[in-house]
Amino acid sequence: MHTVKLWASTTALCLGLVGAAFAPAALAQKKVVNVYNWSDYIDPKVLEAFTKETGVKVNYDVYDSQEVLEAKLTAGKSGYDVVGPTAQPFLARQVAAGLYQPLDKSKLKNLGNLDPEILKAMEKADPNNAHAIPWMWGTNGIGYNVGKVKTIAADAPVYSMKMILDPDTVAKFKACGVMVLDAPTDVFPTVLQYLGLPPDSKSLADLDKATDALLKVRPFIRKFHSSEYINGLANGDICVAFGYSGDIIQASTRAAESKRGVTVNYSIPSEGAQLWVDTLAIPKSAPNPDLAHAILDHLMKPSVVAASSDLTGYANGNKASTTLVSDAVRTNPGIYPPAEVRARLFTITPADKEFERARTRAWTRVKTGR
């Protein structure tokens, strides 16, 4: 999913800062709604259908990291009508900073289709679900090359974070290749959980413990990167990755399609995994809030959401759509985990600036050893 490269999106950000000042006014007359989201996240056919129904053209822009979206929103008038912040910590702190407008729920007739359980998970970030609706959700877990892992260690604990965090285990896979997400907010909580500490801890002592645990396995990790592991797993260049569920499932699909004998599997760590929810919200500066509400309502139709779940391999936050999702996705325990696994999922909350800085610094230490 997150395949547009950093470089491209950084350039796009710079251009966007300039372009945003001019774009909305010119586009407003032509009835265009500007959506800014992860790449490959909404089925293009679904957007075409919206255009056919309403005559409104959809401009779909993409980013590959939440940080880039945030930088664009905080720079000022972004020119976007609908954006896709991840609930924690991004939506939470952006709602607090007043970057979003409250949803006009009278314009959202399909609100009833949403999954109450996911809405409840989002409430910590967005009190009363006033500003955002859920889109897809998933977990952070382990992707692995089934054949190679079996050859190297037949008894490998593929359902445990030991695959990444136990030095003796991960050492075995060093030569074959191990990659980890390059996102402190997506890695530290799982490490804390593995160590038996509260995953949402804001204590510097806990952060130190997690940093030490990661430093012990750092020599065995080839790279920290938030999207390269998709190709790495799919092509058989790496053996184990800690990444986003949908990305690893995408790698698995690609590996199967290329028929090179690579099988990729996704497992949710038995210690408990971080649950994230990607949401859709309307920036305060949105040029066309009415159109934004219209497309949000469209994106809550069960068939529309189901098509996007089939495309991305992610579970969605739309309960009414579940039966319409294809069997391959719906019955995959890595995507729609059984209730006992769902009970062990956790979410995190935003941190203050000091802790954030300490966390980024600790993350640099994890990556570079300094």
Binding site: K5, L6, W7, A8, T10, S65, E67, V68, E70, A71, L73, T74, A75, G76, R93, A96, A97, L99, A175, C176, G177, P184, R218, I221, R222, K223, F224, E228, N235, G236, D237, I238, K353, E356, R357, T360, R361, W363, T364, K367, T368, G369, R370
Partner: protein
């Protein structure tokens, strides 16, 4: 003053000079001043954009200017920044050295090649630019990967029994950077070497100087301006290089470009990120100014192009 004369004067020298200066002013100086002001402000993530303005009206009567030098002090509070700067300089120096080592013989061979094929050779150096830089770096990923072309070839030849770990190592970063920046070294070297007066070498030979010695005493010193121009064209952009280490490097690759990214995007600290950028610029500009002064002019002027 007749209109054509006025026009000629208007369209003449001042305009020709004004265009590049205007360009530099608009696209270099103005953005730099914006970055400089941000670097002197204070981060505040509750604002949009996330820093306090430098100049503020207090109670609609007093103009208050707050210069926050703390961002620059912070760069010394943690050795991360200094280490990242030094790492960037080291990477740039080593890359420049290898570009020179590989580029010089290539430029030399091109400059001494038959006049007819020189344009073709020149074309071959420039040709890779016709493909996107990003795609070429991705191609290197395909070559250097464990399951990539190079390892598969070596395995097939039986030279190695296990894939060499090349990808995501400093070696991969150097390969990527030297590959990317090599043309910037070759082109100025070629243009100096090509213009060299070959009769100097004939005179040296007539006086009994051996070719190798003649190269050392005549060709090399005469090509120095080209070497300096090429080295600057490689060294300066490599210090701030972000894409190649990001894509080909491993976890231990710490360069100032990556630190800047983390400050801007992860910490959302625009002022500190700007301070890192300004410090990087000063770090680069100071030695270059000194070098230019010691040479009494820009290397380009001496290089003759």
């Amino acid at each position: 003053m007749t209109p054509p004369g006025f026009l000629r004067r208007f369209m003449g020298r001042p305009t020709v000079i004004a265009i590049p200066y205007g360009w530099l002013g608009l696209f270099f100086l103005v953005p730099f001043l914006i970055v400089l002001t941000i670097s002197l402000s204070t981060a505040d993530t509750s604002l949009t954009p996330p820093f306090t303005p430098l100049i503020d009206w207090v109670d609609h009567k007093a103009l208050q200017v707050v210069l926050n030098l703390g961002n620059y002090m912070f760069l010394f509070s943690d050795d991360l920044y200094v280490v990242a700067y030094l790492n960037s300089l080291k990477t740039a120096a080593i890359s420049t050295f290898f570009c020179l080592l590989i580029g010089y013989p290539m430029a030399y061979a091109m400059a001494r090649a038959d006049k007819g094929i020189r344009p073709i050779l020149l074309m071959m150096v420039i040709l890779p630019f016709w493909t996107s830089f990003l795609i070429r770096i991705y191609a290197w990923m395909g070559i250097l990967n464990n399951n990539g072309l190079l390892n598969n070839l070596l395995l097939w030849l039986g030279v190695i029994s296990e894939p060499l770990p090349l990808m995501n190592t400093p070696t991969a970063v150097y390969i990527g950077i030297v590959y990317t920046y090599l043309p910037f070294m070759i082109l100025p070297l070629y243009s100096t070497l090509e213009k060299m007066d070959l009769s100097l070498l004939e005179a040296a030979a007539d006086l009994g100087c051996r070719p190798l010695r003649a190269f050392w005493l005549i060709t090399l010193p005469l090509s120095l301006p080209g070497m300096i121009a090429g080295s600057m064209l490689v060294f300066i952009p490599v210090v701030g290089e972000f894409v190649v280490p990001e894509l080909l490097g491993g976890p231990e690759t710490l360069m100032i470009g990556n630190v800047l990214w983390a400050e801007f995007f992860s910490n959302r600290d625009w002022p500190l990120a700007s301070a890192v950028a300004v410090a990087m610029l000063l770090l680069l500009v100071a030695p270059i100014m000194l070098l230019q002064r010691s040479q009494g002019g820009s290397p380009h002027a001496r290089g003759g192009h």
